[in-house]
Symmetry: C2
Subunit: 315 residues, 2 copies
């Protein structure tokens, strides 16, 4: 069984070079150069086996997803990804598992030019913590507290596939590969987030369920948000579900990793243009107004209450 330092060597061999990394893996800490005039953006998310991914998830998918959920946080701030640190707890030092994990991790890291600059490997139940670092121009970040009365609410991509796939995956049933991919290989909306920085008013990524995540925006901004449930974009498979199952899956299911953002109505055509340039579908799904809370409505205006208020880790 390889020692910790063999694991670190295996990791180091897969790392992208960047000119702003003065010292990467191999010392007590990394030395990094933040560009002048930019704010540093730092996110940190952890995935635990059996909690954040099914225990039989392929190691390459775990590597991808652990980085993707962090890149999604950077995207939700409008940040440009730069570096990350990785803490990997493994029950046993399994070089084959690690290499497969790094396949998925490196595929996504390479696509976004993000360099792994340090971290830790420990013995423990399988768990992956990543701290992701990026940059944003001061005043242009997409914050949760900046939604304003009159803003339109937009969402990228489609909602509900990951949540719709999960029960089948957990039961060991056959699951549509496209839906399973939404669960295992979420695509962080980095290019869209970058393009929206300084244009959209507020932003968040949809990770715990649309309504639960928007509740943070409403609370932080001191506004009410109306959501048109029957306008939520979905894949054909999700749109084919029975109406209430579809609404529940799309409004409260987790793991979408789409961006939800608000913008002034006057900026709608600029947003449509950004969507075209970044090849990302965007859909208007609601409106910000004075008041409090998130209010889901059907097409006829009827209020709709979810059976539960989103995915709460410690419910």
């Amino acid at each position: 069984m390889p020692a910790e330092f063999d694991l670190i060597d295996r990791i180091r061999r897969r790392v992208l070079a960047r000119g702003d990394v003065a010292l990467g893996i191999g010392d007590d800490a990394a030395l990094l150069e933040v560009p002048p005039g930019r704010q540093l953006v730092v996110a940190m998310d952890t995935l635990n086996a059996g909690v954040h991914f099914p225990v039989d998830t392929a190691p390459a998918d775990i590597g991808w997803k652990a980085l993707a959920v962090n890149l999604s946080d950077l995207a939700a701030m409008g940040a440009e990804p730069a570096w990350c640190t990785l803490s990997l707890a493994l029950p046993v030092a399994d070089a084959e598992w690690l290499d497969a994990f790094l396949d998925g991790f490196s595929e996504l890291a390479g696509a976004h030019g993000i360099a792994l600059v340090g971290g830790d490997t420990t013995r423990g139940p399988l768990s992956i913590s990543i701290a992701a670092h990026g940059f944003v121009e001061p005043g242009r970040a997409l914050r949760r507290d900046a939604a304003r009365d009159g803003d339109e609410v937009w969402v990228s991509g489609t909602l509900g596939d990951a949540a719709a796939a999960l029960p089948g995956v957990l039961a060991g049933a056959a699951v549509d590969p496209a839906m399973r991919a939404r669960l295992d290989r979420p695509v962080p909306r980095v290019a869209l987030g970058r393009a929206l920085a300084g244009l959209a008013r507020s932003g968040i990524d949809v990770s715990d369920g649309l309504l639960a995540d928007l509740a943070h925006v409403a609370a932080a901004s001191g506004v009410a948000i109306d959501i048109d449930l029957d306008a939520l974009p979905g894949s054909p498979a999700v749109l084919a579900l029975a109406a209430d199952a579809r609404r529940c899956t799309q409004a409260t299911g987790g793991d979408d990793y789409e961006l939800c953002f608000t913008a002034a109505p006057a900026d709608a055509s600029a947003i449509e243009a950004i969507a075209a340039v970044t090849a990302t579908r965007v859909t208007r799904i609601g409106r910000v107004r004075g008041g409090r809370g998130v209010h889901a409505r059907l097409a006829d205006g009827t209020a709709w209450l979810p059976p539960r208020a989103g995915h709460v880790h410690f419910a």
Copy 2:
């Protein structure tokens, strides 16, 4: 049982304010201002229950130690601490446990002016990951790869108390409180590391055992290091151990979190002055020369080989 967001609120109430935190806990990521002309220093270390601390360790001590091991990494680079992110995996959402954890964490964070700016709370086996961020002037960091032929090797404080305490702690025996405190509440040598930046040639913190840690310095710098085992500084309790047990404990025991650094002999008096100003004991314990590897010797020059090569997590 409180929900995740109640845990986050409990954490947020304990956080230090800093002017360079444009946006802290509560969004998808933190927004931070790195001072112009400084390098960003990032370290990330994880503690898992039963691996990195005994399972019956008091939660306040766990909170202290999780931050201390990361501050020790910043100290070993000569960095000034600024911010951290915390990922906390808990088997159950226990507000009382969290408050006690935060007591220890906040005591150390406050002493070093470090602000918690984000992170994650998850359900899982007890594990704490921290990413610590600091600053250093370009060219002044204490790197592992900068030891030079002729340097003297120094170590701060005393070595061996934590390793000497561990067997008794694990056996549930009565342990000298001062030695137990070295295990549970290591004191990161932040002021010493800052003062040594730009003066000492290379540096590392002693976390896995002196000889194992120095082996990284020797390998990274392409030098040999001779260590005088009988010169290692120790507490009275450790110095009272039988000679070979004392050497083994001090040379290969882990969890010291002292700084080991090399410097030109001409800088010895400057180092003694820094030690006086920072009220930190420092001791010369060896010499760098051409060659490879770390060579431990007794006072009479006899070579000494440890029974094991230090604390290897995945041996």
